[in-house]
Every structure is written in structure tokens, then in C-alpha cells.
Amino acid sequence: MTGEPPGLDARLVVEREAFRLDVRLRVAPGEVLALLGPNGAGKTTALRALAGLTPLTGGGLRLDGVPLEEPERRWRVAPEHRPVGVIFQDYLLFPHLSALDNVAFGPRCQGVPKAQARARAAELLARMGLSDRAGAKPRRLSGGQAQRVALARALATGPRLLLLDEPLAALDARARLDVRAELRRHLAAFEAVAVLVTHDPLDAMVLADRLVVIEQGTVVQEGTPAEIARRPRTDYIARLVGLNLYQGRAEGHLVTVGPELALTTTEKLTGPAFVAFPPSAVTLHRERPDSSARNAWRAVITGMESHGDQIRVALTGEPGGLPLAADLTTVAVAELGLESGAQVWATVKAAQTHAYPA
């Protein structure tokens, strides 16, 4: 081994017709990284590239200082020789093998004698709390059990890089909650690099130490879950974390976000800036509010839907067409007589906005 820092160091470039993935990933051992992004952003391609199932067309991939793929040198370690474990979206447990033999499959391929491989598999299944299901075929397992068998199978080869593709997507809402908590425990105990792919912000925030948000094949934002939730940098992330997000130019406490809209904020900034505020910070009025309200603008209601015990109102600002989401109580909606197409005034208190440099 070289003196390089251990962990994953990759620049994944995969070029295809009409699609280009180019992401830089650095993950330390013990860290859990989530690739978050909308469908078609290239998350799964990135995961497949890490596993060696999709060849890189550029960049390179090193794990614990060992080069696994360097397209320029035409160097490429085949998937079966990478110290990588994968948990596939629908687990892909071998249907003809029992849970135990599924887990023992990897060690067997590495040349471990059968009895020893099965003993190791049994031990892993016990750690997952699945000793009593060892003899069951995959189709007899519940979603959560299948997920744990898949995790045990991936861990059985002692991988230095664990990849999880939408690990909770195949589960129903009830199982999700339990499995998510359990998976979090197992991931926290995993000493090597873990990379998970998801389109669900909650999964990403609960399971990962750090998020990398991918849109259209490139990284648009990177940081801890808290940072990303507080300071989204794209509309996609803002929607995920449930914030209104405007981009504009700041001068002092004023951020100009549209042709006729400038928002007053508490932060003092200069230059390109974002302004974010939650839908609950928005108030709607039938009449123009009195002149003391500064952040006020006209908007048209485009839709309404219930959102917990609140009503989420979708609006389009006038002029400029900036989209806006507002959370109102049912009572407020009834009192204001709101309906789709209605013209209203929206206000936001400066204290509830958050401005940061773009």
C-alpha cells in the first residue's frame, strides 16, 4: 500500500449518448455518503461504475490507495475482483438458494471451504437477527428480512466499499421505518466506506453523514445533511427539504430576486445570493397589506392540497412568475376564501428568511 489516505477517491466520468456523468467523490473509511438526486440524474450509473458494472470513460477510481480503474491507462479491475459489496435495489437474492447459502455465496467464490463459509454466513445472519430464517428461500422472506439478508450477503466478503442502491425503496411505509433505523445501526458499525444512492431525502439524511446531490450528471451541492437542509442551492433540493428558494443579487439587507421584487433579510450580504424561507413563513392577504410590511408581492393561486393539518398553497408571483409555496391553516384558507386562480398578496417576515451567498 502507498501512503495515500485510505478510503474512496474517485472521479467518475461515464459518457453516453445524450448523457454525461461527471462526479468527484471522496469518502473516508467509516463515513456514509449518500448520493441524492432526481430520477435520471445518474446516481445508479455512479453506483454501477463504482462496482465495476459500468465502465468509466474518463476519470479514475482508487480505493484505499489501490487503483481499481484508470481508463487512460486502460486499467480496470473486474467487478469480481473488487473489494466491493453491493445491495441492489430489489436485493437480487438468488431465488434458488436459501438465505444461508445466499450469504455464503461470496465467501465460497473467494475460495473459503464450504463448511467455513456457511459458518461465517450463519454468524452474519445471527448478527442480523435472522438465525431462524437461515433455511428459508428468498421468496419466503419479508421485505425487511430480505433486505437484511442482502446486507449480510454484501458484508460476507469483507468489502472495503459498501454500495447501497435505493436500499429502502422496495419496502412499504411501515417496514421502512424499522428497517431504516436498523440499517443506520449496521452502517454506523461498518468500518469501511459506504455509499448509498437514494432519491428520498429522509433516507439520505437519516442514514448518511454527508450528502452529494447530483442533478443531470453533475454534483450541484455537497455537505452534511444539516447544511443542505438549511442552505439549499437548487430548486430540486429546496423542494426536497421543503423551502422556498429564490436566487438574486444582494446589497446589504436587500436581495433583488425578480424584476419588481426585493426581499429584506436579516443577513447582510453583497453579490449573488440565495434567499430561503419555509412555506409556513408566508402569509397571504386578500387586500394589499399596510405599507409597513416590506416583503409583500402579488401572486396568483395555482393549486392547493392538504399537507398534514395544514393546506399547502402553490402560487405564482406577479410579475416575474416566481413560484411560491405557502402553508396555511384550514381556517385561514376558509376565512380568506382562497381558491385556484385567486389573486392575493403574499408577505414574508424578514426574520424568517435566510440569505446566503450563491
Binding site: 469480481e80 441492489f88 437480487l92 438468488f94 434458488h96 455465496f105 467464490c109 450477503r153 454484501a154 466478503t157
Partner: protein, 289 residues
């Protein structure tokens, strides 16, 4: 008949959750249209009538006497043995060929596929002639086999196996290739991430998963080999006890003892039905959750 049975078997296996086929005509949305029903019934009669005739005209009373002849059992045994050997050869050579055709791409793959399936459409007699030219005592390869190893294939039991395999293997290759193409290749990827080489993945994951398709293909090939006539008589001749299989025996008996021919046909029919029914039960048993 045999091919319908096996196709169904394969279909049921591939579509889990689909209800059992053969529940009778399903009258969904206003009954079966006459233009479809009428030809279907005519077709059914057309397929079943000859079999029925065989049963009606069978010399039932003389049957025990006919079947006690050792020549019948000799021919039957030879048929079963050679058909089974030909199926084994087809499996050993045909499954890897199907994998190559389904899972790799090489220049001329489509051409190879077309050539492999040529025996499907080739008249078996022509196949027999071609085999003679290739493996006959003076054939392209046969001459060399004879001089180097002293092996002669024509007019031997081994020659029967060769002729049957030549005709039957394409059925297996086509069937297995179809199954492989329909199989989810992501399981092979999963095996690769667990450290399995491509061959290990094939042996331990793909093959068990496509086993029902392989079995269906093998039965198809076996049935084809059991009934093989043209290539066998051309390449291996018709020597009782050595190369005279049941179909040849039936044909020859028909010329001087029609009653014997009918008895032999009945035996062949019974064996086919018994084997296919037995295998079908085993598959459906395995397929049921």
C-alpha cells in the same frame, strides 16, 4: 403434441403468478368469436383424429403376442438409449452454445445463429446425407477419424446418436437461448459483485435459475430424437439391434406386417406420453408455490 406440452411447461415456469393454463375456454367479454372457435375446433379434430384412429384400429387382442416379441423391446430399448444419449450430447454442447449466442457479441453472431438452427428446417434425409459426407468412411472428417483412431460412425449405434443429436440439438439451443435472453442478467451482476467469475456465475446462479427452460429444451430435443427417422436411416441404416430404432422398425413393419406396425406405434405413443406427462408433473409440482 409433444411440443405443445413442453412449450406450455416452459411458459408456466417463466410466468409465476399466472394462473394454470388449460382451465378451458375463458369466456371473457362476450364469448369466443365464431371465426376463431370454428378453425380451432377443426384443428383440434385434425390433430387428435390420427391418434384416435391408431387406438381404434389397434389389434388389441393380438397385442400381447405382438409385444412379446424380443425385437420390439430391442428396438424400444435402442430408441430410448440413443435418444437419451443424443439429448445428453445436445445438453453438453448446446447449453454452452446457447450461452454464447445469448450473452456475448462477436462478429458474425447472427450468421452463426442462423447456421446453428439450419437443421431445424433442413429435411432430415439431407442431414443424413450431409453427415455421411462429413463423417462417413470417406467423409471429410470421417476418413481421418478412421485412419487415425479406427473410429467409424456410419451404420453403428454411435452413428444413430450422431444423427439424432444433429437433428435435435438446434431445438435445445433455440429453447435455452430464449430462456437465457428472458432471464434477468442482473443476478449475474450480483454474483460478480460477490466475487464470482463469469463461469461460476453461470454454473451457480444462471444455470439453476434457467433449469426449467433447459429441461423444456431437453425434452423437446429428446422427443425429436426419439422420433428421428430420415437422418438415422440415411446415416446409420437399419440394422436390428444396432441401428434400427422404433420409427425405423415401425416403417419397415408397415410393409410386411401392418398389425405389428400399429402395435409398435402404440408403444412409441405410450412411451412419449408417459415421459412427457411425468416430466410435466414434476415441473408443475416444482412451480407451485
Amino acid at each position: 403434441m409433444s411440443s405443445t406440452a413442453t412449450r406450455r411447461g416452459a411458459g408456466e415456469r417463466r410466468g409465476p403468478g399466472r394462473g394454470p393454463i388449460g382451465r378451458g375456454l375463458r369466456r371473457g367479454g362476450g364469448g369466443v368469436p365464431l371465426p376463431l372457435l370454428l378453425p380451432a375446433l377443426v384443428g383440434l379434430v385434425f390433430l387428435l383424429l390420427p391418434l384416435l384412429a391408431l387406438l381404434i384400429r389397434a389389434p388389441w387382442r393380438g397385442l400381447p403376442h405382438q409385444l412379446s416379441s424380443p425385437a420390439v423391446w430391442q428396438a424400444l430399448r435402442l430408441s430410448l438409449e440413443t435418444a437419451t444419449c443424443a439429448t445428453a450430447v445436445s445438453l453438453v454442447l448446446g447449453v454452452p452454445m446457447a450461452w454464447l449466442l445469448a450473452r456475448t457479441s462477436f462478429p458474425g453472431r447472427r450468421l452463426v445463429r442462423a447456421l446453428v438452427t439450419l437443421p431445424l428446417v433442413l429435411p432430415p434425409v439431407v442431414g443424413g446425407v450431409a453427415l455421411l459426407l462429413a463423417l462417413g468412411r470417406n467423409g471429410v472428417v470421417g476418413r481421418w477419424l478412421d485412419s487415425a483412431f479406427g473410429i467409424t460412425l456410419p451404420f453403428t449405434t454411435a452413428g444413430v446418436v450422431v444423427a439424432e443429436a444433429f437433428v435435435a440439438m438446434p431445438f435445445l439451443v433455440i429453447s435455452v437461448e430464449g430462456t437465457l435472453r428472458a432471464a434477468d442478467t442482473r443476478y449475474e451482476e450480483a454474483a460478480a459483485t460477490l466475487g464470482a467469475s463469469r463461469f461460476t456465475a453461470f454454473r451457480r446462479v444462471t444455470l439453476p435459475m434457467i433449469a426449467p427452460g433447459v429441461a423444456a429444451g431437453a425434452v423437446l430435443a429428446w422427443a425429436r430424437a426419439l422420433g428421428e427417422f430420415g437422418a438415422t436411416i440415411t446415416f446409420a441404416g437399419s440394422f436390428p439391434g444396432r441401428t434400427q430404432t422404433m420409427p425405423l422398425a415401425v416403417y419397415l413393419a408397415l410393409q410386411d406386417d401392418p398389425a405389428a406396425a400399429v402395435s409398435l406405434s402404440l408403444v412409441l405413443l405410450a412411451v412419449s406420453v408417459a415421459v412427457l406427462a411425468g416430466l410435466r408433473d414434476r415441473w408443475t409440482g416444482a412451480a407451485a408455490p
